[in-house]
Point group: C2
Chain length 324, copies 2
């Protein structure tokens, strides 16, 4: 990924250059804090790469790229409030450093700042970029709503789960690419193809993330293993384990889902073993592969020389690791 | 205000026609609920009136008008969460009907819907309207932040208080008028004048609201009298009473500001009597008059026949009642 360093530098520099009013610092300090927590900056990177791939000057996509990253961080900030999450990227979340009201209001301000950058996209693509961004932004809210609803539902289907992660995660990757492609001058067929590439890649990535939460190497995954199992999170694997488990397996799964006062390590080990017995982990990996293939197919259909697409092939490979 | 009925009908109908995705209803039901609570619809009315005043077709300002009203309602929704307010316009607030997470997320979605409508403003004014709207939107967040900070500060000055209500309330009235004027084809000098009219009117209106909270007729004011006094809210009157009170008055005010376990009616009566003794109510009314005059002067400067401005003169008169 060394060749991408110049893009990351451009993005970090643009994020650091966001101009805030001189006061109230109480409003803008949390915004700066959230944006300083880092992260992979995948969305703005996708926007810049897509723009250049279609022959555009990536400087004309930089405002949109910044807007997308600010919006993404706004969703993380408010999601952390809703999930009562204490830690984000190894640091205390905004509502822990300050308080909930500050987190709500600073998030609201970030949403406005994101729109401001999106709207600075130069003509003639301003309107198309705004439209596509707003459509995507609303879908992300819909995804978060489904995610919260699923917490209290016992009958979430595999299709509903896929739709939820599509809205919550995948559409923003697709949207970031499509917006870059529009600014770069892609025709609508190719802009749709790159959207499908990003959307499928996003689904593959999220399903892989679910798998890694159970089977990952803690040192490389970056968070504790088994969190989803302890929270009874209705992931692709749990939904399929519930569907497939029979007899004693079904009883054991049901026991763990309603258990209280257990040893966390024991629950993680038991549910993981059950996932293994019913093949839920394997099924999840098959889906990762299927969506990865779909992403690559969409990329292949784009009417550009394969060499021009190489950075996106490389990025897809780096996001979907093949060593599991 | 009968002659304004056609505008109100247009606005209500446009608000009712907002298209939501079919699902998740859990996200959009609170949005519809918040918008159904009513209110005076002053902001979209100002936009339509300003557009027509400068010779524009008010249909071309309708999207912006809807965007402004949706944004205003979004701020009420999130402010109610932050203030832990149980009632809005006589009905339970969104976070009481549903829960806080729903209120946060639905508000986020409303912010996006507001932008969507603002961005639908037809060319050639789309960019100018978006810019002015986003500037105003961010200022409103700044005002809310100051408002929250003032709750825990003892040294808020009169100037700081005026700046807070300017940001939290007045700029949106100014912005609604300016956006309507831009769409109606006003030149920049007149667009600035109508902004100043709205901004001054907003300050007069908010100061009057503070006064009515103490001295209003409960039957006509629509909320309980004395709420600000019970909450030690740092209004223009409290700030000035603290500055002016001496000796026994200063001690009594200090006593009531730190008192607990008191009889609410007794505190209201005592603080009101103190406001009377130090002339805080009268001072507030003088400010209402001063800002009203400033508003009328700005309106008078606009390069249009006085008859064209009559609806705004009438509206100013109806908002700032002269019977106090």
């Amino acid at each position: 990924m060394e060749s991408l360093q110049k893009y990351f530098d451009t993005i970090e520099s643009a994020l650091a250059d966001i101009e805030y009013a001189a006061s109230p610092d109480g409003l803008y300090a949390p915004v700066r804090y959230e944006l300083s927590l880092g992260g992979k900056r995948v969305r703005p990177l996708l926007t810049l790469l897509a723009c250049e791939m279609f022959g555009g000057d990536c400087r004309s996509a930089l405002h949109a790229a910044v807007g997308l990253e600010v919006f993404h961080n706004f969703t993380l900030l408010h999601d952390d409030v809703m999930d009562k999450a204490d830690v984000r990227r190894g640091k205390p979340t905004v509502h822990k450093v300050w308080d909930e009201n500050r987190a709500i209001l600073s998030g609201d301000a970030m949403e406005i700042i994101a729109f401001r950058y999106i709207a600075r996209t130069p003509a003639p693509h301003t309107g198309a970029v705004i439209d596509w961004f707003l459509k995507t932004a609303l879908e992300i809210c819909e995804g978060q709503q489904y995610d919260m609803e699923f917490e209290t539902r016992d009958d979430v289907t595999e299709a509903e789960y896929i739709e939820m992660i599509r809205l919550k995660t995948a559409v923003l990757l697709g949207g970031a690419l499509k917006i870059g492609a529009i600014i770069g001058g892609a025709d609508s067929a190719d802009a749709d193809r790159i959207y499908r590439f990003g959307e499928s890649l996003g689904l593959a990535f999220q399903l892989q993330d679910d798998w890694l939460d159970v089977y990952g190497d803690p040192a490389r995954f970056g968070k504790k293993i088994g969190g989803d199992i302890l929270n009874n999170k209705k992931t692709y694997m749990l939904i399929n384990a519930q569907r497939r488990a029979e007899g004693a397996d079904a009883e054991e799964l049901s026991h763990w889902l309603s258990a209280t006062g257990y040893d966390p390590a024991e629950k993680i080990a038991a549910v993981t073993a059950l996932y293994n017995r019913v093949g839920a982990g394997e099924l999840c990996l098959q889906q990762v592969d299927a969506y990865s293939r779909r992403a690559i197919e969409a990329l292949r259909e784009i009417a550009l020389p394969e060499t021009a697409k190489q950075p996106l092939y490389d990025l897809a490979t780096s996001l979907i690791k093949r060593d599991h």
